[in-house]
């Protein structure tokens, strides 16, 4: 799965640690999501979407 989390985060000037704190996850988890190593659960994806005020499908897209 591809995602725009890094792009959205950097646009707001947040570090991975900042985003992790807002989502109540570790910085390593934010990094793993951003790099596509780990696909977040639906609740976490909703949390991310809500934080950026976007829909899930505008952040996460199916990979090839």
């Amino acid at each position: 799965m591809n995602n725009r989390v890094r792009e959205l985060r950097t646009a707001l000037g947040w570090s991975q640690a900042d985003l992790g704190e807002k989502l109540d996850v570790s910085r390593q988890t934010v990094n793993a999501v951003e790099t596509g190593k780990y696909d977040p659960s639906l609740p976490l994806a909703f949390k991310i979407a809500k934080l950026f005020d976007l829909s899930i499908e505008s952040i996460f897209t199916p990979g090839e």
Binding site: V25, S26, Q28, T29, N31, A32, T35, G36, K37, Y38
Partner: protein, 133 residues
């Protein structure tokens, strides 16, 4: 370090120190204790703080985020399988007469350290895997 891991260390370290102290005292005390029931009670004395160690572990796992839980699950599964099958293979080699049988108590005592080491080693690899691309 996240709050959940700070809490884990706060709960785990004192319980582990008490456990180590009780193991030391139990081993020393056993030298002067007679009778099966008394020896069993003294030997099992260190088990009490283990309940607090397990409680700390459960609370840490429940407080972790989803990737941390997944990493732990994978590490426990792979580390446990390596340790379990390692012991099984070791037993088969002893059974085949390839290796000499050690005292039974040595094998029993080494089960936990081997499993813990397997879990720790695999967790390092899994953490590295999720961190590095």
């Amino acid at each position: 370090m996240r709050a959940v891991h700070k809490r884990y260390l706060r709960e785990f370290i004192p319980a582990m120190l008490i456990y180590m102290l009780l193991v030391y005292l139990s081993v020393r005390w056993l030298r002067s204790v007679d009778g099966t029931v008394a020896r069993a009670a003294v030997t099992l004395l260190p088990v009490l703080p283990i309940a607090f160690i397990i409680r700390a572990m459960v609370r840490a796992i429940r407080g972790q985020d989803e990737l941390e839980r997944r990493t732990d699950l994978e590490s426990i599964s792979i580390g446990g399988a390596i340790g379990g099958f390692g012991f099984f293979s070791y037993g088969m080699l002893i059974n085949a007469g390839v290796l000499q049988a050690p005292p039974a108590q040595s094998v029993a005592i080494w089960v936990l350290p081997v499993l813990m080491f397997g879990y720790g080693a695999v967790k390092c690899c899994m953490t590295f895997y999720y961190r590095v691309r």
